[in-house]
Amino acid sequence: MSAEPTALDGSTPSPAPSNERRRVLVTGLGTFWGGRVAQALEDDPNVEVIVGLDTTEPTVELERTEYVRVDANYSILSRIVRATEVDTIIHTFLAVDPTQMSTRAMHEINVIGTMNLFAAASAPASTVRNVIVKSSTMIYGCAPEDPVWFTEDTPRSRPSRAPIERSLEAVEGYVRDFAEDNPHVNVALLRFSNVIGSELETPLTRLLSLPVVPSMFGYDPRFQFVHEHDVIRSILYAFDHDLPGVFNVAGDGLLPWSEVAALCGKRTIALPPWGTSLLTSPFRTLGIADVPDEYHGLLKYGRGVDNSRLKHYGFRYEYTSSEAIEGFIRSSRLRRTVGDSEPKYKYERDVEQFFRHSPAVHRD
């Protein structure tokens, strides 16, 4: 644990784990999370090497991160870990959006990918000393028996049935086993609440972008949000301070779904609380609107998580739940008027290779 205040000062030695410059492996480089984390790490002089893995190319501009294309379940991972001698793995490649892929593909990415990742990290000669895993508060499920706030230790009220929740449970099971078997490795498991902000697209932001926002008749649950900026900050905070254990990451406060819709300037349309899937599936098939089955419970009972443990470790949120929504509203207003304002970055392998490795490029 880096507790010395001097660690922040560039002139004094860094805290214990950062004495040598760190070598970091980021999974899911092509996702919003992985890309942003890698970008931020590039600016950190204590980070010597950043290796990013993904099945798809990065979507953000990176200067010194080395991108390696892998298959979804990371079969070559142990070779990469051995060859690069990384000391930290930031595992952001976990699918938490059930609408974007089949259950099969999600299983490959989440369960098999994590299994291979930890197999590589716990190999006999492994140099890995820190692991940060991104998970989701979806793991707590959603049931009428739930408390208003879940702490990191509150068990779920009902066994999980949704494939996404079961796959997250399997992932967290691997994380726990790994942490138990490798006491010398510092493991941080961050459970993120509903992420919202100006860039990220999630099932909830898609619902809020519809002309009318679906809700459940007679229910008005309270939702909690975390701003994407705080998400990246929390991952970096866990990286800098070697946070141990499980942490909820969510903004302060809960607000009713009807109010969330109203803040976005939308009306709500009530779905029947019974037989909802029957009604929503034609819309999904036609591609008009997708209210995933996993979110039906959430639209009835909502979910709140207690964020005090992360605060206790010194992390300060910049956005409350309602402030996080504000960021989303601003960007969706802008998008409505001018479309995607910033040109999308396109990864070009040859160009990247040239700038990084050609002797013609001047580097110091």
């Binding site: 644990m1 010395e4 560039g10 200067e63 009428p144 942490a179 409350t320």
Partner: protein
Amino acid sequence: MAPPPKRSVSRARPTPERRRARQAVEAARNGSTARTATIDPPTPDEQAFGGSVGTDLVPLGRGSDPDVLDDRRLSDVNEWGRSEHMREIARRIYDPVYRHWFRAEWEGLEHIPTDGGALLVANHAGAIPSDAPVIMHGIETELERPVYGLADNLFRTLPMIGTIWNRLGGLPAHPDNAYRLLREQHQLVLVFPEGSKGPAKTYDERYQLRRFGRGGFVEIAMRAGVPVIPIAVVGAEESMPTLFRIPSVAKALGLPYVPLTANMLVGGPLGVVSYFPAKFKLKVLEPVHFDVPPGQERYSRSRVMDESEAIRDHIQSALYEMLQVRRSVWFG
């Protein structure tokens, strides 16, 4: 703080994203300065995987008063789902019922603190219990402080009713909810330890208290370090007395009980939702303080059960006393 050494990379093109990411790093670092100055985080040993940290709750910064909302909000629904605005409307509608129908009369209101957390515990009766709204309305109008009522999760599953119940200060009875309200936010919490066994009993069993659950309310009060304030309520039993229970229908509907009430016989369908004008008398008893350290994971089971039983006996004997001096069900 010294700026991080500048790297010069040949094609550094600052874009908005890059700036944001950089700010993120700096903000995260700055956050840590604040931390080292203020709190000492638990050591990794204290907080490893599977370690017990559930009770290691710290007071919340801005979240500690549930009614402090930020100005971006459009409604006043707080984090528990309670809305003071809705509560105000409900008070206006309910006040004539409270004053002229039930003619509620309090004794010993001074035992309820005007600030600080306390767990209110009362007997529970009436097919659709009329005691919860009377107690909540009474305390909110007399003491001008909110009361959160803990009730069965069943409420939450009912469309419309569940939402209204929640806006009026109702919450699912989960120990974590009670703990946070009492310990961190110093609120008044009302709970009926009999649960649904109280309202389910028939008229011939009136004012016979049922088992007080497993004493969970005592444990919560001990953990939260707040007193238990027992309240004896007379009148609710007669406002909607149950003549029979119909277990087969209850089972089919998945409800804890389905009553046939005297109100239904008298008023037909209207009787399902209307009360007899029984006179309400409420007596607040001496607060019970527990001299145990708060915040423990577990408390002695025998101690918890003894305290729970003592509180139950106390309410039971207060009820007998009140019934001894009651001349009429309707006029008190």
